[in-house]
């Protein structure tokens, strides 16, 4: 891993179109400002990992195609989802 030391107001450039700047340091917290193209995903690491994990779980649906109709039957019989206004 490349390790760089930066002060507040200093930054780094990644490739041609990503800039990361140290905005503020307070105790153990660092506030970063990031400029990147909208098509580049920028995520807090723990959230990225969580979504990655969840996506992989979603991609492991049991093989039989009846899963969906079972799910829908449950949905209706148990009244899941958004409810109509009372």
């Amino acid at each position: 891993m490349l390790v760089l030391t930066r002060r507040v107001e200093e930054g780094i450039v990644i490739g041609d179109d990503i800039r990361v700047r140290v905005l503020e340091i307070k105790g153990h917290q660092v506030k970063l400002g990031i400029d990147a193209p909208r098509t580049t995903g920028v995520y807090r690491e723990e959230i990225y990992r969580r979504i990655q994990e969840e996506n992989r779980r979603a991609a492991q649906v049991p093989e039989h195609s009846g899963t969906l109709s079972t799910l829908w039957r449950e949905w209706r019989s148990r009244g899941w989802g958004e409810r109509k206004k009372p």
Partner: protein, 153 residues
């Protein structure tokens, strides 16, 4: 085009029914093309069959059906930049996990929905910037059961 699948056999899909994710999904960058399957008896749910991976099909649901008033909060600027500012311009789908095939434990990823441009059929998985919605919202949770708003500093 013809697609081979382990669940539905070999199916014929119209080109316009194929959605492309140029960057794949988060953590699954190889999953770039999906065919949306319209199946009977499935209600708000849809299968999204991976075009290149016969054994991979994702279950999706329109998040508005799960939580009343579901919104793509905090990414309005990005949506406009992608020409997706108008709700009618986009398809929004949330991924459903069904651990072990047990519907009672099914969860929906409301934090990182799939947003697709209806005109170009291109999609992205977008992570909403605050914690209003859960990554693993239980389907059996009652309506409006979103997590308390904990905005990160």
């Amino acid at each position: 085009m013809k697609i081979t699948t382990t669940r539905f056999g070999t199916i014929e899909v119209q080109d316009h029914a194929v959605i492309t994710f140029p960057g794949g999904l988060i953590g699954l960058p190889h999953l770039m093309r999906f065919a949306i399957m319209e199946r009977e008896q499935a209600g708000w749910f849809q299968w999204w069959q991976a075009v290149e991976y016969p054994e991979t099909a994702l279950i999706t649901v329109d998040p508005v059906r799960v939580v009343r008033g579901y919104e793509l909060v905090g990414i309005e600027d990005d949506l406009r930049a992608l020409d997706l500012g108008k709700p009618s311009a986009r398809i929004v789908a949330a991924l459903v996990s069904v651990p072990g095939g047990t519907p009672e434990t099914a969860t929906v990823n409301l934090l990182a929905p799939l947003v697709v441009n209806r005109a170009t059929r291109e999609g992205r998985q977008i992570v909403l910037p605050d914690d209003r919605y859960a990554v693993d919202h239980r389907l059996d949770a009652t309506t409006g059961a979103t997590r308390p708003l904990e905005l990160a500093a």
